[in-house]
Symmetry: C3
Subunit: 158 residues, 3 copies
């Protein structure tokens, strides 16, 4: 697979589209936004600071991402809710030469089907973004949460 | 009236200025940001999903928008408060050819005069934006709220 | 000192980097982002509306900013916590000709070491930004808080 570096604007569009797809519950589009294999990891700032290898969620290929979506849509084991991502600007950070390496602060508001809303999550995305066959894809997305209290509550991907 | 398509940057400036005008309580500028006639509608995601024609607020010309502002400034029937809009990037979406069609996720923090703050609203704007006589204007702005619980509380336009 | 006007994109990068430095607790970088002398002031919308000269925090040179950082890092008198800034687009506003004058709405989420999170602050930055010797610096940053209730709680700079 030949991969190229996307422009900052292309990568930003992918980051914004990712958030919109999840917020609109178009979850089947989510795995398609990654390379295969890929890395999707949710962890916390505290875990990273301690240098621990722990993850709240870890998927390293598209099939695992699809499984996650199917579990959400079929098993329906969680109370229905929606996300609203709010994103900061994306900043270039050091990383592998063969990807565009960006960091993006974010927060997520959660709306329950009862209408109740809360500030659900905040943190930053650390992304390796590439372009392949005309598509801009996440090769690696690490979600670093600010708080360490939220792990069991995350059903929908962040 | 000859209308043109604004650039994405021009339309984005209008979206940001709109939020700033409301957050600064420069409400008299609000109707001037729309064409006449226009469409300003507040609804919810649930209503749209059901395909219902219901609105929490609906104005289809500038005079109605001005009436709304006058009611807020004169009748003073609500407890004074302020908004702070936080906006996501604007994304192009399908829509009429003769307007720039954008979707913009947002949240609003409300600050009461007592100083208390809360996460008041989240949702997305669905906009048709045009340029006329050198001005960038909203021909249609639909506010789609994530929650269905907030209708009676909205005094200041979103 | 010869100062130049930065471009809007350069100034925006400085505004985003400022938020990231604080959110990552790289506080020693904070004073370096200002000119010397400078103006860093935290006040409230209510104080400004009344035309009062009051400030919740006021520093007019880098040494004062460094003192502030040292007090935070050494005295450790407050319960440890982290910020997450979420920024709106930056808008040009009137101001001195020899600086780029920008206004930027923002909110801050606070995460305590226990993991609890709250919506901590909202408001806007009013900035005078200049370029000197290839660096983009804040000559003046006024933080205008939406609420008047928060003064005693602000330990980390906003």
């Amino acid at each position: 697979m030949v991969t190229l570096l996307p422009s900052l604007a292309q990568a930003r569009d992918a980051i914004v589209d990712y958030a919109a797809a999840i917020d609109d519950l178009r979850l089947k589009e989510w795995p398609e936004m990654f390379t295969d294999p890929c890395l999707y990891r949710i962890t916390t700032r505290e875990i990273l600071q301690r240098g621990q290898p722990l993850s709240i969620m870890l998927c390293d290929n598209r099939a695992m991402l699809f499984d996650r979506v199917e579990a959400i849509e079929q098993a329906n084991i969680f109370e229905p809710h929606l996300y609203r991502h709010i994103l900061n600007d994306s900043r270039r950070i050091p990383g592998p030469d063969d990807a565009l390496n960006l960091e993006t602060g974010f927060m997520v508001i959660r709306t329950m089907m009862t209408g109740e809303q809360d500030l659900f999550l905040s943190g930053k995305y650390i992304d390796e973004i590439i372009e392949s066959e005309g598509r801009v894809l996440f090769r690696s997305r690490t979600v670093v949460l600010d708080s360490s209290l939220v792990d069991t509550l995350i059903a929908i991907p962040v």
